[in-house]
């Protein structure tokens, strides 16, 4: 572990509000991923712009349920002779659709992300937690330092846990990206899919290029967050699972 600064032994552990927010958001996130996947299975096609359906071309077609093959449509023909490409059709097969509970569970879980998340952002800003612990120092962000931290991670040379918010450079960057970028983007693209909210706030509807664009970005952000979760858990295991779990649940003093 040469080259790393020594771990300060008198450094503080995670604040109780950080620990509580961490676990509420974690449970909410896992529920959102599960229910989001169920919702996606109903229509596993992604598009760009305002419109996308089984009768229009998809950007991506994910093979995650029997619905992904969009065949099985009985064409009724065009609405008018002037626009022969604008057609209607009805399904000839029963689709997989568990959105009744899937959607309600998704939005219930979203409340547990949005409300505690908002309180977390407010407290983190007011107490200086973000500035002291999460935000990378300008002096730290040199190519040499980033390179060294990257090589250490790739070689799985992970510093043992301090049990508190004493984070490495890449760790800070990852947490900042999740807290200030990915999670807010997931919430905003989620809201941008609501017909009532976009009626009230049209800017939100056009911000991401339309309803289907927002849906596609929502999916990509979810994938990025799941990848983060995998790396995060791997790092927790690598840096001392028991110590880390104790520090994030009971606190370091326990």
């Amino acid at each position: 572990m040469a080259g790393h600064p020594p771990i300060p032994t008198d450094s503080p552990g995670h604040s109780s509000w950080v620990r509580i927010a961490h676990w509420i958001v974690s449970l909410s996130f896992l529920t959102l991923v599960f229910s989001g996947y169920v919702i996606l299975m109903c229509h596993p096609r992604l598009y760009w712009g305002e419109v996308g359906n089984d009768l229009t071309p998809a950007l991506v077609e994910l093979p995650i349920s029997r619905n992904h093959r969009h065949g099985g449509w009985e064409r009724h023909g065009a609405f008018s002779q002037d626009a022969p490409a604008v057609v209607s059709a009805s399904r000839t097969y029963e689709i997989f659709n568990e959105n009744s509970w899937g959607r309600s569970l998704h939005f219930l879980a979203a409340w547990f992300l949005v409300l505690p998340g908002a309180i977390y952002l407010l407290v983190g800003l007011c107490t200086g937690h973000f500035w002291r612990h999460l935000w990378p120092r300008v002096g730290q962000l040199t190519p040499g330092q980033i390179w060294r931290d990257l090589v250490d991670h790739l070689r799985l040379r992970i510093r043992p846990a301090t049990g508190g918010p004493q984070y490495g450079l890449l760790q800070k960057c990852a947490y900042c990206a999740v807290v200030f970028l990915a999670l807010p983007l997931a919430v905003l693209t989620g809201l941008a899919m609501s017909p009532a909210i976009t009626a009230g706030y049209p800017l939100l509807g056009s911000l991401f290029g339309g309803y289907q664009s927002a849906r596609t970005i929502h999916f990509v952000v979810a994938v990025v967050l799941v990848l983060f979760l995998i790396v995060h858990v791997a790092m927790v295991v690598r840096s001392g699972f028991k110590r880390q779990m104790r520090a994030m649940t009971l606190g370091r003093k326990a």
Binding site: N53, S100, R103
Partner: protein
């Protein structure tokens, strides 16, 4: 004789209490969709309440130009007159055979002038045409042009009473749904009889369907038969969304 008087007085008291209770209860209960103790339904009610409190009332959903009209899948019931359909309606089939000339929309409940409206009656109202996006709970969307009469105009003509809180709709494919007054009187909420410049086709809900542009597609009930104005929440029983596991409010 005395005991009979006492009994009468008690009866009067009880009847009076029941009457007062009957007057008070609708004022404080059944103004929100029921949860049946189900945590998912509690989340639905929270979302509904939060949107009603936080969102500016009756903002218009985005309207598009005719160039933006797209292909439009017909899902759910596509023909209630089809004998193979599980919720086949013999009445609908007879209406369909006569090109909906005998079709009437019944408007009843808390209105001063309940009655029936034929297709021609509805077309005599000033029409509204809007090009809007249909957002399906499944995840797809489509843009179409809808022509119809704003539901609020019909309700006003029928003399909607001040205690009205919800508008329930019943369809020929045996569905029951309802909306609150904010959505019922939303300028874009239509009783639509035209789609993309033509009469509404059977797969899309002929002769008249509801269009609610601030909620998901499943609230825009097709094949309308009856409208009932109520002052209490009616979940529609097993024909409604809630008992089938769906959120009543779909503005998400």
């Amino acid at each position: 004789m005395k005991s009979r008087h006492l009994l009468t007085r008690r009866k009067v008291l009880l009847a009076g209490l029941a009457a007062v209770g009957g007057l008070l209860l609708p004022g404080c209960t059944k103004k929100l969709p029921p949860t049946y103790g189900n945590i998912l339904r509690m989340g639905d009610v929270l979302t509904y309440g939060a949107q009603r409190v936080l969102l500016p009332g009756q903002s218009l959903a985005k309207e598009y130009s005719s160039r933006d009209i797209t292909s439009f899948p017909a899902v759910g019931t596509v023909n209630p007159g089809d004998p193979d359909h599980p919720r086949c309606s013999e009445t609908y089939r007879r209406l369909q055979e006569r090109a909906f000339a005998d079709w009437h929309l019944s408007v009843e409940g808390l209105v001063a002038r309940p009655g029936f409206y034929s297709l021609a009656d509805l077309k005599r109202f000033p029409a509204r045409t809007q090009i809007t996006r249909h957002t399906c709970e499944e995840g797809w969307s489509a843009i179409a042009e809808w022509t119809g009469v704003p539901l609020g105009q019909v309700l006003q003509t029928a003399g909607i009473l001040p205690e009205a809180r919800f508008v329930s709709v019943y369809s020929y494919d045996d569905l029951a749904d309802s909306i609150d007054m904010l959505d019922a009187f939303h300028p874009q909420t239509l009783l639509a009889y035209g789609m993309n410049g033509h009469d509404l086709s059977v797969p899309h809900g002929a002769p008249v369907r509801l269009r609610i542009e601030t909620q998901l597609g499943y609230k825009s009930v097709k094949y309308l038969a009856r409208i009932v104005v109520t002052n209490e929440f009616d979940d529609g029983g097993e024909k409604g969304n809630i008992q089938n596991g769906w959120s009543w409010y779909a503005g998400i």
